[in-house]
Symmetry: C2
Subunit: 372 residues, 2 copies
């Protein structure tokens, strides 16, 4: 297994080293305040007795699992608290691929690059399946791609990078395809709190024993560094996930779990509504400026990102670096997300300067750079 | 992969549910204060701006890696900060077993149960190798067991459960055996701060490109729940470990890393000396009482544990539960640690009531229970 520095680290380092002022729209790190209850709980935790600094239960603090289970309407026994949504996806994908049910993982194109990375780590074979023009599920394409070798189908809704929110009926159809070929469906809902369309419904409502739902608090509480996520596994798969979690990590970090538990229990709905509105305002300002720039873009139904395409300026790493140097805006090359959007560039709206960035892009492309 | 609740959870739950007062000597959770700087850093962290709550570098906060590297006398590029020593062992063992250099892991008997567990998870085959009567390395036995199929040899010094501190020359000989069969040696030094013998030397001093050293702060700072450990990998293996760490966990928890960095940089040597002396006092009081009880035991050279054997009372789960109910002392059955010490019971000295526990054991065995 070769170590490949993820492209987003590469772009962030390039942007940080640039001579001029660069607006960073590379990573999905929220720039807004975490819940007040999270900070308060951390302060309290600092003064807890030594016993509270020792191993939490491997599957997560009991009170945290219970409040997650209550909010998601499932039995607490199905919840495994993980080191971020990333570990939850790893556990879920490992379960799917380690059942002697095949080696293939169907991943939607464009694809979040960790999914093929995890598939390779688990000795699986990723197959990219096209999505619709707006990033929605193409169930026929999934049905066509599925075979006896398919062990896993990974969905992400609201989607990174397209912003698509999947229709629940389409997710149900994918679960039926999975049943036909003995695959499991992993639905990563980490952006579930950032549904701008009002149409998002969790795959948990399908109550399907082939569906594993993963999520976490990195985005909803603006704490990507705390590493608190979870998987909700069907009864027949939860023990496998617990075992792997224990053998890989023993347990997750207790200060983080303690703070997240209190924030989850004590934060009013207004907190989440405010961050969603902040994001919606940024989407509007950014896409208005993209209109002015004559760029093509997909208006996100959810998540943090806008994919944009500029004439004769494909989303290569070289062009992204050119935008850093010449326009003062750093995005992510579309070629990092599979094959479907290699002409596009992804911009993360996690900066108060999103509108300013779009104006810089408009100015830059008004000057008509030489085609690349 | 079947989920087996670890035996130590099982005993802890049994002890917690017992009717009478039970002294818990089951797990290796320190009961003493963490460094003052750790609490102070957590308080400070609670008020940091949102940017400090986002992903740390995947391989760990730069300043933490640098201070670890400085203390251990290695290049920072060789350090990967992990979710506890448990993850560091997982990454190291995975690297050894995933090189197409064989499937066998040689583990010392008695064995810390996570090592065979991780070996199975990684599709390897564990082979238990006997140690000497006092738990020291039997290099001839390792040499005899090693073959072309051996990819990995795992050592743990100071040792859990025997308390043995391995002679550095013996570790060097094990590395030579590893070289002869193309294996890697993982040396878990998490109890390195609890060397009661004064003879412990880190395997890093061997400067051997087949040796991976793992450690962490769970024990030395009394924070098993913070999940901050690290692996120090030879240049040719560090990229593989970084990749796997990133794909499994993305990164470790930043509040924990921030607190540990400050505690590591700011805590005077006296803190570690005091916890070591506390432990040495407990060892003396506990073993004095075991002498009074006529028990056989191994006096630990390091780590937290005393293995004891009582006449006609083998270290089975049933007998351990009997001690909980009838003597009010909870230990770990020796049969949980491989085959070599199945007659013994492990007692963790992480309670101020260690001497009282030994007196309870002395009283109990003075009453001569029926042999089991």
């Amino acid at each position: 297994m070769e170590y490949e520095e993820p492209k987003f680290f590469h772009v962030m380092q390039y942007a940080a080293a640039a001579a001029g002022d660069v607006i960073d729209m590379v990573s999905g790190n929220p720039d807004w305040e975490p819940p007040a209850a999270l900070r308060e709980a951390l302060r309290e935790y600092a003064d807890r007795p030594p016993a509270d600094f020792q191993y939490p239960p491997s599957e997560g603090l009991r009170e945290l699992r219970e409040v997650i289970a209550e909010r998601r309407g499932v039995d607490p026994g199905r919840v495994v608290v993980t080191n971020g949504t990333g570990e939850a996806n790893y556990l879920a994908m490992a379960r799917a691929l380690d059942r002697d049910a095949g080696d293939e993982a169907l991943l939607m194109d464009p694809v979040y690059p960790y999914y093929p990375g995890k598939t390779h780590l688990l000795d699986g074979t990723p197959t990219l399946v096209p999505t619709t023009r707006d990033g929605g599920l193409d169930v026929d394409a999934i049905r066509e791609a599925a075979s006896e070798d398919t062990a896993l189908i990974v969905l992400n809704t609201p989607n990174n990078p397209t912003g698509a929110v999947y229709d629940l009926d389409a997710v149900r159809e994918v679960a039926d395809v999975a049943a036909a070929v003995d695959a499991l469906v992993v639905v990563d809902e980490v952006y579930g709190r950032f549904d701008l369309s009002g149409s998002f419904e969790s795959a948990l409502t399908l109550d399907d024993d082939r569906v594993i739902v993963t999520s976490g608090f990195s985005k909803s509480m603006a704490i990507t560094g705390f590493r608190v996520g979870y998987g909700i596994f069907p009864e027949s798969h939860v023990d496998d996930a617990k075992t792997r979690h224990m053998l890989v990590n023993v347990a997750g970090a207790r200060p983080s779990q303690y703070a997240v538990y209190h924030a989850l229990a004590e934060t009013p709905p207004e907190y989440y509504a405010e961050s969603r509105e902040l994001l919606a305002d940024r989407v509007a300002a950014f896409t208005d400026a993209l209109d002015a720039a004559g760029a093509e873009y997909s208006r996100p139904e959810g998540a943090f990102y806008v994919l944009a395409r500029f004439d004769s300026f494909p989303g290569t790493m070289a062009n992204v670096k050119r935008l850093v140097d010449e326009a003062g805006v750093a995005g992510m090359p579309g070629e990092a997300f599979g094959t479907a959007r290699s002409d596009w560039i992804r911009f993360a709206l996690v900066t108060p300067r999103a509108a300013e960035a779009a104006e810089r892009l408009a100015d830059y492309f008004a000057e008509e750079p030489a085609p690349r």
